[in-house]
Amino acid sequence: MVDHLKRLTWDRLTGILQDNGAKSEDIDKVELIASRRTFLGQMTAVGALASMGLASEVALQGLFGRGLIPVAWAAEAEFMSTKTGMTIHNTRPVNGEFEPHLLDDDITPPERHFVRNNGLLPDRARSKDLQGWSLSIDGEVHNSLVLTMDDLKKFPAVTLPLLVECGGNGRANFDPKVRGNPWNRGAVACSEWTGVRLKDVLQQAGLKETAVYTGHYGEDPSLRSSVPPFSRGVPIDKAMEEHTLIAYQMGGSDIPALNGYPVRLVVPGWVGSCSQKWLNRIWIRNKEHDTKKMKGYSYRVPKYPVVPGIRPPKSDMKIAMAWQIKSMITRPTPDTHYKIGQTIDVAGHAWAGEDKVSQVLISTDYGVTWHKANLTQRPSQYAWYRWQTQVSFPKRGYYEIWARAFDDKGQAQPFRQPWNPKGYLGNVIHRIAVHVDA
């Protein structure tokens, strides 16, 4: 298929498309993405078309105006360059994370915030055009609201470091392997968010007695227009928690396009899919939100421990909500070489969803002995804690540094990853390798 395309010239291709009924405006779209790709130096025009799967259903969907807009794909490629050093799992939709040693900052800078998108980048995120944007609050409220950005900014502004972590972070550590983006440990960030409390907005709308759950919607197009938009929600208590924000800035600037410009939810400590990006509607429900992404096996874990590799029936699954105790080693960089006796600074973060971190223990001998790291208090609830310590090795060899965090309920990270069918809430202890040379 690709060989055939390579022998095509541009003129021949557009001729064939016209012969087959493509409109000229659709062909213009193809030309636009092709030239953007060429500009990026990635591939030739015809190569770009082949990579888009032109000779497939996309030709109908995009070129014949039935759904996908190829231009949007080009936009995502442009914005990926704002995330230097990101490990890319997928480009359409964009999914990428940073290695733990790139996430050492107490406050994650916007360019190091992971990207976990389910659909395409909205046009508005690319153009940064607020014209026509609004946030609707409707459903089980006394006064439905339609808020512009100016309206939103009339509520008291708060700025907080808050942790957002993809529900699948750690999936790569599941055995047997599970489906989905193979996140290692970097689909987590503690950025500084500015916005308004969701509570304040919901109080202005006036919650009815019947309000029990939220349903969140964003303006990112689905990969296929026939598929309903990605939508999840949270129980009303979590929505009313004072750290749950409608955010319009990250790190003091507009939220990056890939992370939800102009407005997103930040539901800290819970699986990241609760924190809807490109937010434009919150539907207050009188029952548990019941979209596809709330049901079945989506963002759900078994109600009881299951045999690894065995998928229990849907009725035995429950919604994944808060994260549990977890830590990450951000210093040193794995596989660094040291001298005998050299002091090695070891540091990282620890966090615990709705709970507090009580201690972090470090081992350099595969868990035979442990010592306590210094734990620094977090600046506010739902920020991660900093821990640090020093180690040195008296003999040459290969060593591993292990970190294990404990919460205030006495729960610690497991040594082996408990298994669930879609690899959610992975929190197995983090191990890194170091080498001591003679």
Binding site: M1, S56, E57, I88, H89, R179
Partner: protein
């Protein structure tokens, strides 16, 4: 010389997913498409292929993925025979290595 053949292929790949009539009209004149081509053309229509290629899943899990794509994510134009070829290709190339 190659143009008519190419045109048929383009036509096939364009119409095959959505139009059963077109499929039957042209499928007699071209060889059956391989699991690899079906995977790339059909799966690549909606999402990039880095993700499926990064997976190492057993047959049951790949079947689960394909069922979800067809039933839940709108890839409902892929025939059962094509799904079977795609499944075989995925298990062979992106299966669980012992």
């Amino acid at each position: 010389m190659w143009m008519p053949k190419f045109k048929i292929l383009i036509l096939l790949l364009i119409w095959l997913p959505l139009n059963a009539v077109a499929e039957s009209a042209v499928s007699e004149s071209v060889p059956e498409l391989s699991g690899k081509v079906l995977f790339e053309a059909n799966c690549g229509a909606c999402h990039s292929l880095e993700l499926p290629k990064s997976q190492r899943l057993d047959q049951g899990t790949w079947q689960w993925v394909i069922d979800d794509m067809v039933d839940e994510f709108g890839a409902d134009w892929i025939t059962e025979a094509q799904q079977k070829l795609i499944l075989e290709y995925l298990v062979e190339n992106y299966g669980q290595k012992p």
